[in-house]
């Protein structure tokens, strides 16, 4: 990307239609403001998504250190490195942070970075809302870890079962911090989901009809719909929990007719789709990588997309398999066992489509592709261990043992972290303009791959041997010492792999070779523009002639002109066929999203200590939203082309 234009240079620019001149004008309009203020007021999707990705990685790092501390404690029997109270806080904040502060925000941030570029637009549909979502998420994350660092870390487990999490057994503010963290992150997740859906539905490049949308984008759309339906359930549940604790409602208090199982239903109605909310974007990333590195479009596009949609639907019919150890009717158990088995069908279809893609393509095994292979291997083990859990009699034996953490880590590391790291290596050149080291990338891949197996396979065995999960130590004569030590050594390998990855990132940022626009010969639109992408993404909005936007046209790309260059304007297209329909002006940078998020923060955090805080927060939020809705200053030469709707009712 070229440096920022100097006004003097623009003044002597001879040809106003030259690419350099156009670039200068668009950059002037679309770039963030200067300095800290510019950073705080940015509404650019790439700036916000990138800081969100860095934030999520930071939380991943902290939660990873927590995991390492727990593995040190468990490395030998009767260890006294960490006491039970701190251990409880560690595993609770580790799980909560990985789920709510890393996995979901991370996949959504990747979506918010790449979806607009892949579909050929200049920003997400609601730029200010996007910024608001990030700030809300950040406040929630800081809240959780502020709790931990002040010995007020949640200690009831990441799914916060009542009655343990209720006022009777968890006095103090620890669980309240957890509940409010949920509210913050769910607001952010819902906002991001709406961004993705609307951006994809209304701002696709002309010609990108729905049956030409890249599988990666489809995956993000399916994930976003799932977020819209699932997240309100956990937000409602956590609000009920907070109310039980703060103003003595009786939702979960069985002595007053409340119900502990109500919590489990509400939580897992969110919690099971959550697994797929994390996993489906992983499938999208895999699809993008497989196509590029096999040098052919994904085999069975329609089957892959329909499978993604099917997984999304089916994932809402599985939640009760988390509750097989509760008194459920037998038919219910059978139904949910069958549904759990059924979701293997669309998942299998996608896996076979990728294998067919690799088989019939000309695959290259660069680091991103290695992570794809690693994903298939780990996810298969994760899936098979899940089959055991889906069977009611087996589940009754191994539920609440170390088998569970073993299984979930295979699934989530395999299904989300490996595709994510593959995506990191794949898109790093686009984001930074520099290549990562292949050699370091491969070393860290193998460390991670071996490390994950050495860490989590012993946990599957320990679970079968009867070791309960969430215990801070065990006796020597249980015989669990050897496997636990192995698992801890594996955790060391993972840590080393992550460390090498960080080194690779730092080295590449400083001195990696220049990437150019399209280092991998990619299929989708992000590879058409310079690396890193300019603030406005596309000088002209490209026109798409096939599913593989860049492979369908190998030379110049047809494009659309006529969007204004003196203000932030995007093209809106029709939902199904992506025919140009209207122009839409976007807001300039503004501090209002940050202020609104702060108002939410004041309300939710103050509310933990005194319910009056909710009222204060609500008033502050109304003021902030009024500022949000107020018309921005009219720009010079502003003229709207108004189309009076054809209203039959008149």
């Amino acid at each position: 990307m070229s440096a920022q234009p100097q006004p003097a240079e623009r003044a002597v620019e001879p040809d106003p239609n030259s690419p350099a001149s156009l670039h200068a004008r668009l950059e002037q309009v679309w770039r963030n403001g200067p300095g800290l203020w510019g950073w705080l007021t940015s509404v650019n999707h790439k700036s916000i998504a990138l800081r969100s990705i860095i934030t999520a990685f930071t939380f991943f790092g902290i939660a990873g250190i927590e995991a390492a501390l727990m593995r040190v404690q468990l490395a030998r029997p009767e260890n006294s490195f960490i006491g039970p109270d701190l251990y409880n806080q560690l595993f609770t904040t580790h799980g909560s942070a990985m789920m709510f502060l890393f996995a979901v925000p991370m996949v959504q941030s990747v979506a918010l970075y790449f979806v607009p570029i892949m579909i050929g637009t200049r920003n997400v549909a609601f730029p200010r809302l996007n910024a608001f979502g990030y700030w809300t998420y950040l406040i929630g994350g800081v809240l959780l870890f502020s709790g931990l660092f002040t010995n007020t870390g949640p200690d009831q487990g990441w799914f916060s079962y009542v009655p343990l999490a209720g006022p009777g057994f968890s006095p103090g503010k620890r669980v309240d911090i957890w509940a409010q963290m949920i509210t913050f992150t769910e607001i952010a997740a819902i906002v991001a989901a709406i961004e993705v859906i609307v951006t994809v539905f209304k701002q696709r490049a002309p010609g990108m009809s729905l049956n030409r949308v890249p599988p990666f984008v489809w995956a993000m759309v399916v994930m976003s719909f799932m977020v819209l339906v699932a997240m309100p359930y956990v937000a409602t549940a956590s609000a009920m929990l907070a109310m039980d604790r703060l103003i003595a409602t009786q939702f979960f208090n069985y002595t007053e007719g409340g119900d502990a199982l109500l919590w489990q239903h509400l939580f897992w109605f969110f919690g099971h789709p959550e697994v797929y909310i994390i996993f489906i974007p992983g499938l999208g990333m895999v699809s993008a990588i497989v196509a590029t590195f096999s040098r052919r479009p994904v085999f069975g596009y329609t089957a892959v997309v329909l499978s993604l949609v099917a997984i999304g639907f089916l994932s809402f019919g599985l939640w009760v398999h988390h509750m097989f150890a509760t008194p459920l009717p037998q038919t219910g158990e059978s139904f949910f066992t069958a549904a759990s088995a059924m979701i293997a069908i669309p998942t299998g279809v996608t896996i076979f489509c990728w294998i067919a893609t690799i088989w019939s393509g000309r695959p290259r095994f660069d680091t991103p592709m290695l992570y794809v292979i690693g994903f298939i291997a780990l996810f298969t083990i994760g899936g098979l261990s899940g089959l055991l859990l889906a069977s009611v009699p087996v589940d009754l034996q191994i539920t609440d043992t170390d088998f569970l953490p073993g299984h979930i880590h295979y699934v989530l590391l395999g299904g989300m972290v490996f595709p994510l790291f593959g995506a990191l290596h794949y898109w790093f050149p686009k984001v930074t303009g520099r290549m990562m080291s292949e050699r370091l990338g491969k070393v860290s891949f193998w460390l991670l791959f071996v490390g994950v197996n050495v860490t989590f396979f012993p946990q599957l065995l320990l679970g079968i041997a009867g070791m309960p999960r969430r215990v801070y130590t065990y006796l020597a004569d249980t015989g669990w010492g050897g496997l636990n030590l192995t698992s801890s050594i594996g955790a060391g390998l993972i840590a080393l792999g992550i460390l090498l990855l960080v080194v690779n990132i730092a080295r590449s940022l400083a001195a990696g070779p220049a990437a150019g626009a399209d280092p991998w010969g990619g299929e989708t639109l992000e590879w058409a523009i310079s690396s890193p992408a300019p603030d406005y993404n596309f000088a002209y909005i490209p026109i798409v002639h096939g599913r593989s936007a860049l492979w369908a046209d190998t030379g110049d790309l047809d494009a659309v002109a006529g969007l204004r260059e003196d203000r932030r304007e995007v093209l809106q297209t029709t939902m199904l066929d992506a025919v140009p329909d209207s122009r839409h002006e976007h807001p300039d940078p503004t501090i209002v999203p940050l202020l609104t998020a702060l108002a939410v923060g004041v309300g939710l955090i103050w509310g933990i200590f005194d319910p009056i805080g909710f009222d204060v927060g609500a008033v502050l939020m109304f003021i902030a939203l009024a500022a949000w809705g107020w018309p921005q200053k009219t720009k010079p030469n502003s003229h709207e082309i108004v189309e009076v709707p054809n209203d039959r009712r008149r």
Partner: protein, 216 residues
């Protein structure tokens, strides 16, 4: 599907793809209505999330109901019907000026838009006031038992939607009266669209909280 043969991935491309404008969109409208504009879709997205939230509250209501032999529980009075029913009627009637201001907004008729918006705002404030009285009409405090908690949850969850919509309509009314920028007219129409939703989802909530205890 055939393999694309001429992709030289090994080499990659250093330069960005040249973009060759072949279509000009400068004469496309910049103010459009309904599903043609992103904010309409954003509104639908929030409706989906809010409907899911309400459904979680209503589902909790029926889940807890199974734990009781009588509903409402012993020594708990039935909720009043009078205030909630008046409140429901006012809400439904408020849709008339809402419909009229949306129609006027689609004609870019500022006078009619603002006039009907003020009528709608006043009616929605009345509905909000009545809703506050409904908490009293429940005849039980939120912390009395699980029945009370779920009933309060349903009414309160919808109260937040009502309050937000009322304040939003007020804000739009003030903006339209003072500034009336052309591109705000579709927003006004969407505000009405949201009001229809807000009133529609209240009907099953009303049936649940006020009628079901009389039926079971």
């Amino acid at each position: 599907m055939t393999v694309v043969g001429d992709i030289s991935a090994e080499a990659g491309r250093q330069a960005e793809r040249p973009l060759r404008p072949v279509v000009n969109v400068s004469d496309l409208p910049s103010v459009v209505y309904g599903s043609r504009v992103v904010t309409w879709w954003g509104t639908v997205g929030f409706m989906a999330a809010e409907a899911a939230t309400l459904s979680a509250c209503v589902a909790s209501y029926y889940y807890v109901l199974r734990n009781f032999e009588s509903w409402p529980p012993l020594r708990t009075a039935l909720p009043d019907l009078f205030i909630p029913t008046i409140s429901l009627i006012v809400l439904i009637l408020a849709l008339v000026p809402t419909y009229l201001f949306a129609r006027a907004a689609k004609r870019f008729d500022k006078r009619a838009t603002v006039r009907w918006m003020w009528v709608a705002v006043v009616m929605m404030f009345i509905a909000t006031g009545l809703r506050l009285m409904e908490f009293g009409a429940l005849n039980v405090r939120w912390d009395a038992n699980a029945y009370a908690s779920v009933a309060w949850a349903v009414v309160f969850a919808h109260f937040t939607l009502l309050l937000a919509d009322t304040l939003e309509t007020l804000l739009f009314t003030v903006i339209m009266q003072r500034r009336d920028p052309a591109r705000y007219y579709p927003g006004v129409a969407e505000d009405a669209f949201y009001s229809y939703f807000m009133v529609a989802v209240w009907i099953p909530c009303y049936v649940t909280v006020y009628l079901v205890p009389r039926w079971v």
